[in-house]
Amino acid sequence: MSGILVVAETRRGELRDVSLELVSTAREVKEPAGGRLTIAVIGADAERFAGDLAADGVDEVLTVSAPTEQFEAHVWQRALEALIESEQPALVLLGHTIDSMGFAPAVAARAGLGFASDVTAISWAGGPRARRGAYGDKLQAGLEFPGKACTLLTVRPGIFPVAEAASGPAPARAVSVDLDGAARTEHVEYRDAAAGDVDITKAEFLLSIGRGIEDKDNIPRFEELAEKLGATLSVSRPLVDAGWMPSARQVGQSGKTVKPRVYLALGISGAVQHLAGMRTAETIIAVNTDPEAPIFGVAHYGAVADLFEVADELEQALG
């Protein structure tokens, strides 16, 4: 087995960014791994993405025609199993996305592949090596995949740059896989996120609060603080899960991706899914009682302090 197979991701007729990020990931180890870099796209309209996937370093684009209009985890599973069987790659890369979470681990389990999810760095030393978070991302683990001829990794989105388009088209090849009857769920519809009273993606200054505020009754206080600061209030997931704030205010993977000039985070530890939505803010200031909180890893300014005491002082300073 040799070479690298990247699996692109599309949704509702659009190619998702992670697809070409994975090409950059693959290129980091293409030389030591040896063999070719191929990128596969699965879907009812797979062929129309072939041109977009001809990124620098891609040797061949593979298209697999799927019988379902939309992503279906079991159809994709069978398609990927067939691709691994026919292409015999040493390394398979997918995005660590919601779609992948529905089928990639099943492929790895059934085929006995090397496997790791939410990988943030890869290298090669006789075989693939990967880095990923451990203990809630407070530590970082180095992984090897001994005895595995093929390893499947899902890579964290937003870490690697989107690969540049190649100067010319890459050869494309249709791979025929019998996917009739593979679907085991029925798609009903997509529902777009409900619009809220405010669009936090447009705000230049966000005051963002998380689990650290402890109680629903404390929310009005931070609404007032936001107003005094001239900021828009946003929140991390636990406050939406608890029903304290509407989902339109949520920053993160399943909420909004924001890029304000200033992001002031109070009592947000910085779960991966939250960081995915705010790490590109121009200036990030984080206040948290836990010095090991992952949010300090992306913040420009940090304070290990009690958020209520800091909020008291902010209120006083602003008069």
Binding site: M101, F145, H187, E189, A242, K256, E313, Q316
Partner: protein, 265 residues
């Protein structure tokens, strides 16, 4: 209706910690244990399905792979209303990766002939987001991952679920049992156990099994493992954040300064 809920006792790091000799695991003296947050939501979903079904013959079974530390988590599930619990442990499972755990769970689920298997989307310590779907793979069960709403129609035997996609988009999909769902936080409001229920939980069946008892050879578990951890370290956070020190007043003053500077530029 028979529902199996796979749960995990998760480890949180103390502020200070040390690694054990192998250099790839944290000394357990520096860990605090708790039931995985996601699993409180999957358990609640199971209890609601059982209770809505009403009548006899419905059962919620919580299962876990873990040493004695995991017992407390199972007891809390029993206190909240699970009917029985199964814990599997063997020294050979020490340091097992996500696929080895899923392979072990598969052998437990196979004994149960469940209509539904529920897992949390991910655990707060390993954050693989993979155990449930790997388990479905071993069991060849249809599955939906990252479910934020679950409506069960007993008459047609169909579950209508919301799959939570990036950016808050929802896919509505239907699936028929036997099936596996991975449950996202916020899907429901997990209940608290009463003091009386906490006392009574110890009276409920809690089976402790070894690999032999579930017909698994340690070699099979080791062969299933997808990775081996060879290093564990504090992440390199690059330049890192500039830390604002001093009293809360000093911190607040600096924050106001930074905000004014950045917003006026």
């Amino acid at each position: 209706m028979k529902i199996v809920v796979a749960v995990k006792q998760v480890a949180a790091l103390d502020e200070e910690f040390e690694l054990i000799e192998d250099g790839v695991r944290v000394d357990v003296d520096y860990l605090e244990w708790d039931l995985n947050e996601w699993d409180t939501f999957s358990l609640e979903a199971a209890l609601q399905l059982r209770d809505d079904a009403g009548g006899d013959g419905h059962e919620v079974i919580v299962i876990t792979v873990g040493d004695e530390e995991a017992e407390e988590g199972l007891l809390s599930c029993l206190a909240k209303g699970a009917d029985r619990a199964v814990r599997v442990w063997d020294e050979e499972l020490e340091g097992a990766d996500v696929l080895a755990i899923a392979r072990t769970l598969a052998a437990v689920v196979e004994r149960e002939a469940a209509d539904l298997v529920l897992c949390g989307v991910q655990s707060s310590d390993a954050v693989n987001g993979a155990t449930g779907t790997a388990l479905a793979g071993y069991l060849d069960l249809p599955r939906v991952a990252v479910v934020t709403q679950l409506d069960w129609d007993g008459a047609s035997g169909t579950a209508t679920v919301h799959r939570e996609l990036e950016g808050g988009v929802i896919e509505v999909a239907r699936i028929r049992p036997p099936a596996l769902l991975t449950i996202q936080t916020g899907i429901n409001e997990p209940r608290y156990a009463t003091l009386r229920a906490i006392k009574q939980a110890r009276e409920k069946p809690l089976e402790v099994l070894g690999l032999d008892d579930i017909g698994l050879d340690a070699d099979v578990v080791h062969a299933a493992a997808g990775s081996r951890t060879v290093a564990l370290a504090t992440p390199d956070r690059g330049a890192g954040a500039e830390m604002l020190n001093g009293s809360p007043a000093a911190v607040a003053a600096r924050i106001v300064e930074i905000v004014q500077e950045r917003m006026s530029g």
